[in-house]
Symmetry: C2
Subunit: 213 residues, 2 copies
DNA sequence: GTCTATAATAAGATAGAC
DNA sequence: GTCTATCTTATTATAGAC
């Protein structure tokens, strides 16, 4: 792998786990098997490297949004059952996006870390990801419940954001409290279903067959 | 105020906002108007100071748990309506606990930060707060839905934990994306109601009067 | 592009006077 | 208990040879 890309993936992993401050440039270059000056040659500063890690992490994945589903299958919007299906789809897909074992964990974790500790990289992420993402979730809710306020729509979509944030950022703590395998695939699948049920029912929609307990 | 307590409150504020690594001991002592050596005299190390901040932050507040309500008003457990009332109470109280404007923000924020970036202070917090807290929420859910699995009960209570974490830790980002006053008291009140509705309905309970939209 | 060597700075911690 | 002065170490960044 090229030195530059090597540095990004290795630094990204470290940044995601330990945070910007706790990672030294030496730690990165040692692990990458290159010399310290490589960072400054390729990125200028440590901060630039961090920003490039965020940009890279974002560019690799493709997170499904309400907007995507609404344009791909607009007919689903026409019935309460279809609307409920959309919610289920998005929740399950989001959980996959964040916790698919084959995907390097740092790529989603560094974004979540950026959400809780925004740096210079946040401006880019905010415009490119969060604003459109939030907007489409909110638009969806307003279609389902046209009488709802903007605040209600936001609070509703926050149910999903909060859950993803919790499982991504508090993993270590949860495993400490509940045991080593607390967040295994089986649990995450249960959690996705529980979250989907909660969001569907809160929106006043009927539960799809497979979500009925 | 005593030097020792001064240091705890001022350091706590800085740690909560910036994180352990980003706060230097000189930053703390300068702001507190004391000399650098005061930290080492009173606490020995920077890490010890951090731990004492967490302990202090925990000891000041008293968070209402499911266990508290269940022992205080056991009769509520007997009907679905009473059970729904318990959920509503806990959610609203938790939101107050975390976002009451009169309470110093750092006291809850440093705990949330500890959840996402556990340090040596976590062992204490885990045993004293999280384990009993999680346990009582889970016990409650199993009373409401005895046929539920342990995982379902956990995923359900996570709805609340995720929400609190999101609004506490991602405040800056949310305000950047949605606007300056996105998390004002009015919104937080709406969010509490939305969360309570979602949790009550997911548990298969009837909505209390004042939560019906 | 990559290396070695080094500069410049800031950090946590300590010693000892008062 | 608090002060000044200092130590030790680790950090980011740079200069210049190859």
């Amino acid at each position: 792998m090229e030195t530059k890309e090597r540095l990004i993936t290795i630094a990204g992993e470290l940044f995601a786990d330990l945070g910007f401050d706790a990672v030294s440039t030496r730690m990165i270059t040692d692990k990458a098997g290159v010399k310290l000056s490589a960072i400054h040659y390729h990125f200028g500063t440590k901060e630039n490297l961090y920003i490039e890690c965020c940009v890279y992490a974002h560019s690799t994945g493709r997170k499904l949004t309400f907007g995507d589903v609404m344009t791909a299958e607009p007919s689903l919007l026409e019935s309460p059952e279809g609307q409920a299906t959309i919610i289920e789809k998005i929740v399950v897909e989001s959980m996959h996006y964040h916790f698919e074992p084959s995907r390097p964990e740092w790529e989603t974790k560094i974004i979540q870390r950026e959400i809780t500790h925004p740096t210079a990289a946040m401006r880019t992420l905010s415009e490119k990801i969060f604003k459109p993402d939030t907007k489409s979730a909110q638009d969806f809710y307003m279609i389902v419940r046209p009488e709802a306020t903007e605040q209600e729509a936001q609070a509703w979509s926050d149910l999903m954001y909060g859950q993803m944030l919790l499982y991504k950022m508090a993993k270590q703590t949860i495993e400490m409290v509940r045991g080593e395998n607390a967040l295994d695939q089986e649990f995450l699948s249960t959690a996705a279903q529980t979250l989907a049920r909660a969001m569907i029912l809160e929106a006043g929609l009927p539960l799809p067959e497979k979500l009925i307990k």
